[in-house]
Symmetry: C2
Subunit: 341 residues, 2 copies
């Protein structure tokens, strides 16, 4: 009947109702419910009691609109089926949430135009910041990010110049390191096996680095097998089977686009009775738990994924607090020599 919000039946109680129940003004209730500064102890208690009694849940949409900065952070990832991004997201979420922030998620599926739409959509929620693992971003996407007016962290690769901030590792250096390692182990016949990396900038850069590292020793890839679809254990298994139709085993080392693929290859070798690393040596990327738990630990490159998420979150939080943050943060990588090479 009345338009008074304290009469709105089963709708959510508003701050106005809390205030009226506590017998204070709206703004006092507001102050009490946040920090509680500039509010008398007694008033604070009254307001808190009223809020509890009414089961008050603040409306952050209204709060943000009135007050300024949101406590949401947009997160754009190319995939979730790759556990690498699940790990990163986990690190992000943990650290954001500790500071009372929450991720709004978008998954681009490595599609640049989809990514563009996502960035636009997420930005319309006026997040306090944005974290993105780019997928061959369009120019329009880069423009939106540059003009977002909030801190932006690009994660995973630190080779390209960052729009604002970057947290990750040099994918190129990681690729080169693998080349140097294999050469050092005496391999000269080296092949690459990957999933479709045309839209995966990081896998592409790693392959570049690998070829670059090899070329420094005047070595060229003996073969390259690239299968369509996202990386997976079964795909690696199939891909290596194909490779072995082109290339003789024996002194052969194979670099995979990542550990999933390499594990698949290991399974194929077990099945086909191939000796690892005698007939075929295997090297992955990311040092996933699965590869390290194999009967023969997989040679791989450890990337600190949780750390990337954590640092990205911290970089944002620091910027929210007005602090200066390094434009580029390198979490590094570590080549893990396993028993498969």
């Amino acid at each position: 009947m009345s338009t008074d919000s304290s009469q709105n039946g089963d709708a959510r109680p508003t701050l106005a109702e809390v205030a009226r129940t506590a017998g204070v003004s709206e703004i006092t209730a507001s102050r009490a419910l946040r920090g509680g500064t500039h509010v008398a102890r007694r008033t604070l208690e009254k307001v808190e009691a009223a809020a509890r009694a009414l089961n008050y849940v603040p409306n952050r949409l209204a709060g943000t609109l009135a007050g300024g900065r949101s406590r949401q952070v947009a997160v754009v990832l190319p995939s979730l089926s790759n556990s690498v991004f699940a790990d990163v997201l986990n690190g992000l979420e943990t650290h954001l949430e500790q500071a009372g922030h929450h991720p709004i998620l978008g998954v681009s599926n490595y599609d640049p135009h989809h990514e563009e739409r996502l960035v636009a959509d997420l930005l319309s929620w006026r997040p306090a910041g944005l974290v993105i693992a780019p997928a061959a971003s369009t120019e329009a996407t880069r423009k939106m990010l540059a003009g977002a007016g909030v801190p932006v962290v690009e994660i995973m690769d630190i080779d390209p110049a960052p729009i604002d901030m970057a947290v990750g590792l040099s994918q190129r250096a990681a690729g080169r390191a693998m080349a140097h390692y294999l050469i050092g182990r005496g391999y000269r016949k080296i092949a690459y096996v990957g999933h479709d990396i045309s839209t995966d900038p990081r896998a592409t850069t790693r392959l570049d680095g690998l070829e670059q590292g090899l070329s420094e020793a005047e070595i060229k890839l003996a073969a390259t097998v690239i299968l369509p679809g996202p990386s997976s254990v079964p795909l690696g298994r199939e891909a290596v089977a194909r490779l072995l139709r082109e290339v003789e085993p024996g002194g052969l080392a194979v670099c995979f686009s990542n550990d999933d693929m390499a594990v698949g290859a290991m399974f194929h070798a077990l099945d086909a009775g191939l000796d690892v690393p005698g007939d075929i040596a295997l090297a992955g990327f990311n040092a996933l738990a699965i590869g390290q738990a194999l009967p023969l630990p997989l040679t791989s490159v450890a990337s600190r994924r949780d750390e990337i998420g954590a640092l990205a979150a911290k970089a944002l939080l620091a910027r929210f607090a007005g602090e200066d943050v390094a434009r580029v943060q390198d979490v590094g990588f570590r080549l893990i020599p396993g028993a498969t090479t």
Copy 2:
């Protein structure tokens, strides 16, 4: 200088500015920018041109506050390191996003009190709906969900009575099915190996179901090994090694809390020279790609994780549209006999 929003320098342009640039009123610009109904063709074009020229990004906080329903959906998951939830989240995100909705994410780490805080926090963003894979939720959490005033979907398990809607499978039935299968294969010495499931209601229910299924044949678990920490390949490897100190191999079948653990056990068997399934039979849960790619495909129970995410999203979207939705949706499961049993 002026307070006129068309003079606000580098701040984001508002609808008012778009309207003024297009020479129309705010509400007309608003109408044009959404559907474009009840707007003259010519006006529509002017407004769109103005928006493009100003690089206008709508402010959905304001839109939601004024207009009603948000296009955000709260998603609360117990973990991301388990690929099962990454898959579910992927399905959710895909289908939500197609309808212009976006997930706000919270990860509870299987901590009921953390979960409670998360639900409260996420609800304060006034999402249009909420999806949760519960982690032994507190009574307070259940109350919040019941009183959220928006559709709530509990996912993964359909055994408990849903607060609002549930999408998943009967974890208990899945456990029983595994028991029946192993008994049918002639196994009588059956053990369970798991990660810490005290806060994982689904793993607990599956174990219940397993024991129940066994008891129907008057069989009791020969041994139970539960190791602290989240499930993983290395943990499964370690856990099975411990089990074999308690129980003799030979005619032994082991059920694992999930595939990760079972794969670890397989690796241990390979290493220890144990014959699978002769010495030790292995059964997992979830039918992850990794298990199916093993030289010996792993016996497991296929759960349709993407499907759960997809159906949960669709259930919400249907309810947003005012349609009726079944309270419980069973995606079922399928026992996949592999070569490890």
